[in-house]
Assembly symmetry: C2
Amino acid sequence: MHHVRDAIKKRRSIRKFTREPVSENDLAEIVTAGSWAPSGLNNQPWRFVTIISGKILDRLGELTRYGHILKNAPAAIAVFIDHEAMYNERKDCQAAGACIQNMLLATEELGLGAVWLGEILNQAEAVNRVLDLPERYLLMAVIALGHPADNDQTSERKDINTLILKKL
Amino acid sequence: MHHVRDAIKKRRSIRKFTREPVSENDLAEIVTAGSWAPSGLNNQPWRFVTIISGKILDRLGELTRYGHILKNAPAAIAVFIDHEAMYNERKDCQAAGACIQNMLLATEELGLGAVWLGEILNQAEAVNRVLDLPERYLLMAVIALGHPADNDQTSERKDINTLILKKL
């Protein structure tokens, strides 16, 4: 049984959603999966804002060139690192990445789809203003999610023989 | 069925291994899982060195205060970002974190155990020297892995109600 590896390989970025809402329970499941990521010294630096308000999604959508995705998504989760919980920026960013990957995998298992939006980091301060969050919270990504309206995404990866530099 | 979320919650850092070797096939499976992580612009910045040489594991073990883990592990995977493939340090570090999390989840599914070693980044240049890699490759982590000799690890996470700053 290869459930986990299959999920890892089958996951795709989903950018179009139906109008069906995302339940609070599903959002909690996704955040819980994120929270079980490993972090350096188990510092768990991640913090989350869950968003189902169309008005907030529209305002966030103004802050990225991929705004049409947010404006048409029924939900999003903004992922932050708490500056007061940080101990090493590089490792905390890696931990955020592990956390986000858990969330994407959980989203897929719940029958939902998601896309990891990173370009919006160019407007991180404005995102904090829209969400009324102090500077202490450093934006890592916004994940747009919902029930997938397109499932025909394909993706490619480099051959691992080009990625493995050496076998020692 | 909650295979993926169960795997996410059940994964633990494994620091003690039996003497049983890790097969080349399992190492390839783990790297493949890592390679299916998302990355900004799909730049796939990750590169890997797989290590089963006891001599190399011992030399890497000299470079971290957690060296006893590496010295007693049958295998390790060093994870790098290729400077020539980078486009944004923060996002590339997040991508490396997503990649590493995929590898840890795949390791667990294969019946192996692993621990993400970050403290060795303090000696990143020395790691590159031991592995005879140019500066172009930026160390992200070393994952020690093998067949688990201890399976009784527990771990704790903050309640998600303290992690979710707002529901909007």
